[in-house]
Structure formats: C-alpha cells, structure tokens
Symmetry: C2
Subunit: 378 residues, 2 copies
C-alpha cells in the first residue's frame, strides 16, 4: 500500500485534512486535524457569509476553549452572540432548545445567521435542532470538542433533544454547513469522557472495517497516550466510514441503521437510568457486548466475536457488564425505542468483526432471556 | 368562459373536488367540499398505510366535531390516540408541542405513524411541527376546521410555534400527506372566527386575482350567508393560488413572500399585544389597509386601492383601524420579524388590486411615520 504509506509520512503531525461529506442538501467539508479550528473564518467567507453568528456551547468547554473559539469568531468580522448550557445530557431538553432560540432571536439572528455548535454530542444535537427550527431553518457549523462527538454525532445531520419518554425522540435531519474537528481540543477532555469516545470508534470499526479494528487493537497504547498522527488517522477513517454510510442512506431507512450497533440496549439503559449515570459511549460499550452475545446465541454472529470485542473495550477502560439496573425498567424503555420495524425492535448484529447486518424479527422472548442472563452475569 | 360555467353547474352542491399541490417532497391532494371528511379513510389506505394515527385538536373543535372525525378514524381500522389542546393562540407553544410528542410516544407511535391536525391554524401549525419533530419526522394530514386555516395555513408546509420573542419563530417546513377541507365543519364556527377567515381570502384575491376580488365584492351577501357552492368555489380558487405560489417557491426565498401581504404589521400587532386580543385574520385586515396606505404614500400602490380594500374588509365585519396599542411596542416587535432582507424589514405592497410586489428598501422613518399617523387616525 504505497499510497497509504506516503500519506502517513506526509501527515506526521496530524495536520488538518478535509473529508467531503455528500448529502441531499449539498456537500460539506469535515476538516480533521490539529489546529483546524483556525479554519473557521475561511469556512464562513464568500457569497454565503452569514449575517450573524450564534455560538452554543457548554460551560466546561467554554472554560477551557472559550477564548480559542471567540478569537476565531472575532477574526470573521461577523457579529456574534452566545448561549452557554450546563454540561451533560440533562441539558438536552426542549426547554434548553427554546432558550437557545430565544437568545438567538434577542441577539438579532435572522434567516442568514449561522449557529456554531461547540462541544460534545449534547451541544451538537441540541444546536442542530435549534438551527433546524430557528425561523424554520438556519445554517450551523459543528465544532465537536470531544472524541465521541467527532466520530459520531457531528457528521450525518441527525439532530434532536430528549423527552421524558426517551432519548432523541424529538429532532430533525439537518446537515451542517461544515464540521471542524480540532484534535487539540481533546487534551482537556476528562479521562472518562475520552474513553467513552473510544466506544463509538470501536463500534465503527466493528461494523465496517476489520483493518481499523486490528489497528486499534495493535496500537492501543499509543492511541490511549494520544499520539496525534495515529489519532488523526483513526478519526479520519471513522469519519469516512460514517460519511459513506450516511451518503447511502441519509434518512435512515436501511443501511444507516448499522451505525446503531450496540445502541438498542444502550438507549434502554440510558432511558431506564434517567440519563447521566453511564455516559452514552459507556452504555454503547455494554450494548455492543450484549448484541454480540445475543447474536452468537442466535447463531448470527461468528463465535468468539463477543469475547474479542469485550477484551478490546475493557482494554480502553470501558464497562462491558451491566449491574444494579432493574431489568423491567430497561424493558419498558426499549419498548419505546424508535428503531423498530413492522415486526418489532430492530437489532444490529455483527456477522463477524467488520461486518454488520440488521435484524428486526428477533423474538422478544429471545432477547429478553439473554438480557436477564446478561444482567445477572456481572 | 364555457368551461368555467360547466364547472359551476356541475358543482351546485359544493361536492368535494381535489386540487393537487406539488412540492419537493412529492405531490399531495387537497380535497375541498361538503362532506370531504368521509374521504379520510381512503387517503390512509394502500401501501403507505400508517401503523398508528394520532389526532391533535382543540377542545372546542372536538366538542362540535369530535365524533365526526373519530367515526372516520375508526373506519380506517388503524389504532388511534388523541391530544386535545386548549383553544386559542396561547396553546401554540413549545411546551404544548412537547405535550403532543409525549402523548404520541406513550400511545406507541413509531416512524410509520401519521398525525391528524384537526382544527384551526394553531392546531395545524403546532401539529405539523410536532410531526416534523417526532422521531425526526412522521407524516401528517391537515383537516382544517376554520375558513382561515383552509385558505391559509393548511397548504404550503409551513409549521411552527410561537416563542415569547415572536410569532412562528420556531418551526419546520413539513408538507402534509393530504389536506381535507370539509365545508360542513364551518357551520359551528363563531361569527368572529368566520369573519377572520375572510381576511385571508380577501388577501389572496388582492395579491393575485382581480376577478376573485370582484366576485367577492359582488357576491358578498351570499358568501356571508354561507352559500356552499359559492364558498366552495372561493375556497378552491384560494387554495389553487396558494398552491401555485408555494410550488414556485417552497422555502420562501422570493415569490412566496407576497402571501405575507398585510402580515408585516399584523405580526407586530400580535406580538405587541401578547397574542389573542385581535385574531390573526383581524390583525391581517388592519395590516393590509396599512400596507395599502403606505404603498400609496410611497407611490408604489395605485391610488384608491386602500379605500377599496378598506370598504370590502369592513363589509365583512373586519377591523380596519388600529387603536389603543402602544406604537413603541409594535415597533420593537416588528424589529424581530423574520421577514427581513439584507436592507431591512420586508414589505409586500399591491401595485394595484390583484398584483403584489416585495419591497425591502423602505426607509424605517417612512413606515414608522405612516404607522404613527395610522394609529392616531382611528
């Protein structure tokens, strides 16, 4: 693979590279690498220069990186205003979405304004929905500040908030104008948040890219130590996979559902615990191990897949078992999951590492029995 | 016009006729006439048969027509649930939108569900936005139960709610699967509500159809008495005009704005009074007279247009003057109007009856002076 090798040499410092994401609303760039935040002014120039900017972030991210992004916003010469959310999934509500809208309107935003979502997945999702809703739709730029948000939520145009009945049950498909993934933002991420990001990275590899999965297994220590060129490579690969899948199926009628590997149980866990005890990535880690075990039990997943996945997730410090959660609450919450086909809950299984398939005719008794076993197992 | 005459004879009793509305999301039918509610089951049949229905309405409409629509819903054989809102603009909030979503989710709605908006403009707008948001988008059918909602809000895909900063500032473009306009629903409309509908009808005629305007002037008494064939004809003509305009400009970047004739001031009035004192149609009536006077003052509108419009609106019992409202509160509210171009507030003027144009370079001093005169005028 000489071309692959040349790229590696070229990009020794993890310098910004651009992936184009195709969508029905037009293509948009995802700029990945160290220092890519400085490309923000460039992305706001030209014919589509916004009239105003409205920055949405959370207080933790602003404490660490507020000045860095304000500096770039000032460089644009466009007037801007801000809404700061409390950190955490508890902010992902309709009430906070309305707060963002009110603050944007009071600041003078019009239809030519652009929102900037600067933070983790919560900020990206709620800001995207606010942008989709403000005056029936304004542009927004995703500037994910966590590993999880970079490889998962920031590409693909899914936006939304939680309602008490479940996660992401209200929202919109709304593609960003651009995504900026600056690896320099990751240094201040708490260790637990960083680990949670690896759950989605491992998921992406597990469903679609055996070579990436092997690379992560092999380079585990360098990746955990935060090696920029390796990290840039892994993030770029994940973004390309996500972009490929989303391009083929923007509105999630088929293929895109494989991105939900591990999420069927994860959403149940998160809803049952009222959000916030396990991080989303942690719940997905548990959910992937469960889906692999269930898949093996049903004869869909090649044997030893669950063990391999469990070992890798555990090596990244992620939870792989479930305890202390009422099975009946999880079952109720899963009954409300929006990923259901005509025949019931929709599951994503691996046929083998690197390949996923969707299955919506698993008998409830089958997965419920497996779940009871899984929860007792510890 | 022999073909026009033949149509008149054919449709002596105002029997249902279908207008096709084209949109980027596909065509949809608007079924207009007496008894068209009975076509609801037909519109839900076939390959796109929904898994569930969720009816949204207001308590007044349900008191008069609840059984009529439930009877049709039962005929579909599809399970259905309901959310009842309090009547009036005060229900058009994000809180009530979330209430609709929660109730739909608890009833078991999934992505193949369909909402039914049964009521006036408030119900149509909030239900459309809820349908656009539920699981990032489900289908909905508009069943307008007021004259205003039939000729205005139910066609065109604009949906939304108010926020404290202004009307319709949060929402989505979301086209209905079908619109059913049953003239038999109008009999129970309070007289004031019925009159308010005429404001939008007169608006539609004023911006685009001099013949319709003359017909309304000529047949005023028969129309006010509720003659079904005449009413069906007028509603159908208004829906065709609205559909034409919306087809040309679905996302309101140009032509569609002419539908906002009278709305620039109307939105200011409604926001300044906190919604609910003047009905929307009443505020539009006042706004049209003002826009016509301002247009005449600026030399854009042919002379005597304002007087002609004022006489017709007054004959339909609509307000044509503004009193008792603080000018400064209206000015503040108008400063937040989302209809603004790069050069300021966007106005719609008539060049002459039946023809409209958009103008976004009116100097604030000019319309503000005219407004002060207009408010003092009484």
């Amino acid at each position: 693979m000489p071309s692959g090798k040349r790229k590696k040499v070229k990009n020794r410092r993890g310098e910004p590279r651009t992936v184009r994401v195709r969508s029905t609303g037009g293509n948009y760039p995802a700029v990945i690498g160290r220092g890519s935040l400085s490309q923000l002014p460039l992305l706001l120039k030209g014919k589509r220069r916004p009239s105003r900017l409205h920055l949405v972030s959370d207080r933790n991210v602003l404490r660490h990186h507020g000045e860095a992004i304000r500096k770039q916003l000032r460089r644009t010469g466009i007037p801007f205003s801000e809404t700061a959310l409390d950190p955490g999934e508890g902010s992902k509500t309709m009430e906070q979405m309305q707060r963002i809208l009110r603050s944007a309107v009071r600041s003078g935003c019009d239809r030519n304004s652009c929102m900037i979502a600067f933070g983790g997945g919560v900020v990206g999702d709620i800001t995207g929905y606010a942008a989709a809703s403000l005056l029936r739709g304004v542009e927004f730029i995703q500037v994910p500040a966590s590993l999880l948000a970079m490889v998962d939520a920031s590409v693909g145009g899914k936006t939304g908030v939680n309602i008490p009945e479940g996660k992401n049950l209200a929202g919109a498909f709304h593609q960003p104008r651009a995504v900026i993934m600056d690896l320099d933002l990751l240094g201040t991420l708490p260790a637990r948040q960083a680990r949670a990001g690896w759950a989605e990275i491992i998921k992406t590899a597990a469903i679609r890219d055996l070579r990436l999965l092997s690379l992560i297994e092999r380079e585990r220590e360098a990746l955990l130590a935060g090696s920029p060129p390796l990290l840039a490579k892994v993030v770029e690969r994940c973004v390309r996979i996500k972009a490929e899948v989303v391009e083929e199926d923007e509105r999630e009628s088929g293929l895109r559902m494989i991105l939900n590997f591990g999420h069927t149980l994860a959403h149940g866990i998160e809803a049952a615990q009222g959000y916030g005890q396990l991080l989303h990535g942690e719940a997905v880690a548990v959910g992937m191990v469960f889906a692999a075990r269930l898949g093996e039990g049903l004869g869909i997943t090649r044997e030893a897949t669950a063990d391999r996945l469990e070992a890798l997730l555990a090596a990244f410090g992620l939870p792989v078992h479930l305890s202390k959660l009422s099975c009946s609450r999880i079952l109720t919450a899963m009954g409300r999951d929006k990923k259901r086909g005509p025949r019931g809950l929709r599951w994503v299984f691996l046929s083998r590492p690197g390949e996923a398939l969707i299955c919506d005719d698993v008998k409830p008794a089958a997965w419920q029995a497996e779940l009871k076993k899984f929860i007792q197992e510890k």
